[in-house]
């Protein structure tokens, strides 16, 4: 037989392995940066006027000229408060690209000044929760352990115990909390954006909210010895990776072990 004889599938195997390796490397390397926003200060009435102008250009198409909403398309914004506006716009969810089951986080289109203006305008329509102050979201003195208990009891069912997020019904999903700022986490609990329930200050007290925020922020800094977090969504991905990855490895190992090598004397006299 020929001097260098390879298994007919060896070429495919190499390509598959290279693809897998590329995917893993990409998943490990691609870590986007964090963007946070904080409102600036202008006189209140001028801010409301500016906000109204921005609103009529950017938001009124769906939410109506006076924020009254459009049934079946966009909810009323009367009484949602500055916290809801700040959450939706600073996470880039609003203005939305298109109506859908769930708006995902993206780069904010409004700058912090514009966000503050629109927030002031919406607040002027009917009050509602205001944007939390830096002290309210401070993690100084927060009880991280208690925050974890609360997170596990009230948040983890959707957002995963590590804030990795998860799927809901009919295309909706609970987003990962990996990029949420403390202010945004506070606002989300207070206002219940999209499918999320509301956790008002008498259900989860402001101190408890700070504990939860401290847990979310601190758990993000938990190291991943070994190098792979696998999205931190728990044993399912870990098991899948172990199963598929090790299976692939073992298939290649078996091919290598059993492949004929070039020194094989060919025997044809064995019958």
């Amino acid at each position: 037989m020929s001097a260098r004889r390879r298994h007919p599938l060896a070429g495919y195997a190499v390509v598959l392995f290279a693809l897998l390796l590329t995917g893993i490397v990409y998943a490990v390397v691609s870590q986007a940066g964090d963007a946070s926003a904080s409102p600036a200060k202008v006189t209140p009435s001028a801010l409301v006027q500016e906000g109204k102008a921005i609103f009529s250009v950017t938001c009124a198409a769906c939410h109506g000229d006076f924020g009254q909403g459009t049934p079946g398309v966009a909810p009323s914004l009367i009484g949602v408060g500055a916290a809801a506006v700040n959450f939706q716009t600073s996470t880039g969810r609003m203005p939305a690209k298109e109506p859908g089951a769930e708006n995902d986080r993206k780069t904010p289109e409004l700058d912090p000044q514009q966000i503050a203006a629109v927030s002031a305008y919406i607040e002027s329509l009917g009050g509602g929760p205001s944007v939390p102050t830096a002290t309210q979201v401070s993690q100084r003195g927060a009880n991280v352990g208690f925050g974890q208990q609360l997170f596990v009891a009230d948040c983890a069912q959707c957002h995963n115990f590590d804030g990795a997020g998860g799927a809901l019904t009919y295309g909706k999903f609970a987003p990962p909390l990996t990029k949420s700022t403390p202010t945004q986490i506070y606002e989300a609990m207070l206002t219940g954006p999209e499918a999320m329930p509301v956790f008002n200050d008498t259900t989860i007290t402001p101190q408890e909210k700070r504990d939860i925020i401290a847990y979310v922020v601190q758990s993000r800094e938990e190291p991943n010895p070994g190098g792979f977090s696998l999205g931190r969504v728990g044993p399912v991905t870990e098991g899948l990776v172990a199963f598929l990855g090790l299976l692939l490895f073992m298939v290649f190992a078996a091919m290598w072990i059993t492949a004929k090598h070039r020194n094989t004397p060919q025997e044809d006299s064995n019958e």
Partner: protein, 382 residues
């Protein structure tokens, strides 16, 4: 190749004298092949079985010349392979030393310490076995000769002579043991084995007591307060007042009793006006929420999915779906938690609720039906 000789089997008195190479040496008792491990087989044949035509009773194996080459064909390549294999084994040895070293270096006094310890121990041990394996495979592939052999099948049925001999021996043994002749010995022996056979069945009792009626009810009782789980504080309807709110609640006094919570955990949901489809019946009707069991549009449902008992608490404020994350059973919270998707077959049971004299949410009674998944004695009721 260790058994690649055509020697007779030990229980083969008839043919042992004629059919094997060992029999002809005279050094060993017939029919008992003996060989020091690590020495070449005395067998001359290259085949695993004698090359005789099937069915013939006696045949001598065909003598074949030795075919295993003493040395690899390419001595230089073999020398290289030898070095590679030795290098692999050295790496494996070093990784093994690293395993022992990491046991002492990485202490496990903190969570992160345990993570690092696990990584170091697992990695070093994995490398040890991996490089031992790689070295062994290279050794086999590059240095050892490869010879294809053909192993031939033979009928599973023993020779007629063997079978007769066996039957004869068996009958002889039975006779000699007097098992048939002495019935009292036979019967007492059989009686002695009965408890041994029964014992494992008795041990099944350790699987636990039968559940009895314990699955039919939970620890909820009349007047027991609902605690906001985590903070473990009682709840006033006025505090839980934002429509779209949802929290996990547990019975007061059982907040740390996980056995009890496995059945008694609940969620309460605050609805806006006119969102819930109520019934005025004093008992659950599929598709409706019992109005008398709610307080100010606050509804309490069991958190335990009726499919296989996962915590179903993924409440979506916009669509009022309660989703179970395990198998995607979906319940409509506005309609008595009736199943609208997934494998669950029954609605989440609703906990009867009221307020006590201090204005806190309390249970009106236990659930009126068993919570959680179906079980054998549950019956078909909904």
């Amino acid at each position: 190749m260790s058994d690649a000789h055509a020697g007779p089997t030990p229980g083969d008195p008839e043919e042992g004298q004629v059919s094997g190479p060992q029999a002809e040496t005279g050094d060993e008792p017939p029919g008992v092949p003996r060989r020091v491990i690590g020495t070449p087989s005395p067998a001359q044949a290259r085949m695993l079985l004698a090359e005789t035509a099937p069915g013939s009773t006696a045949g001598l194996p065909v003598q074949r010349p030795r075919e295993l080459p003493a040395d690899p064909q390419d001595l230089r390549a073999a020398k290289t392979a030898e070095k590679v294999v030795a290098a692999c084994f050295m790496i494996a040895g070093l990784a093994g030393c690293a395993f022992i070293a990491s046991y002492f270096i990485f202490q496990v006094h903190s969570v992160v310490g345990v993570q690092h310890s696990n990584l170091a121990l697992g990695l070093s041990m994995g490398l040890t076995f991996l490089f031992m394996g790689i070295g062994t495979v290279i050794w086999v592939r590059q240095l050892m000769p490869v010879v294809e052999i053909t192993e031939q099948r033979h009928p599973l049925r023993s020779d007629e002579a063997d079978r007769e001999a066996f039957a004869e021996t068996f009958a002889e043994g039975a006779e000699a043991s007097q098992f048939v002749k002495r019935p009292i010995l036979r019967r007492t022996l059989i009686a002695a084995t009965v408890p041994v056979a029964v014992a494992p069945i008795v041990l099944l009792r350790d699987l636990g007591p039968l559940p009895g009626k314990s699955l039919d009810h939970t620890v909820w009782r009349k007047g027991m307060r609902l605690l906001n789980y985590g903070a473990n504080t009682p709840i006033r309807p006025g505090d839980f007042s934002s429509p779209g709110g949802m929290i996990t609640v547990v019975p007061d006094g059982f907040q740390n009793n996980f056995d009890a919570l496995a059945k008694a955990a609940c969620i309460i949901i605050k609805f806006g006006p006119d969102q819930v489809v109520y019934t005025d019946h004093p008992y659950p009707v599929t598709g409706y929420t019992v109005k008398n069991w709610t307080v100010d549009n606050i509804v309490c449902y069991s958190k335990i999915c009726t499919h296989v008992g996962c915590p179903a608490a993924l409440y979506e404020e916009t669509t009022h779906h309660i989703l179970c994350p395990c198998h995607q059973s979906t319940f409509d919270a506005t309609r008595g938690a009736k199943v609208i998707f997934g494998p669950a077959t029954r609605p989440l049971p609703q906990l009867p609720m009221t307020v006590d004299a201090d204005g806190y949410l309390v249970a009106r009674s236990d659930f009126t039906e068993p919570v959680g998944p179906s079980f054998w004695e549950r019956g078909n009721s909904t």
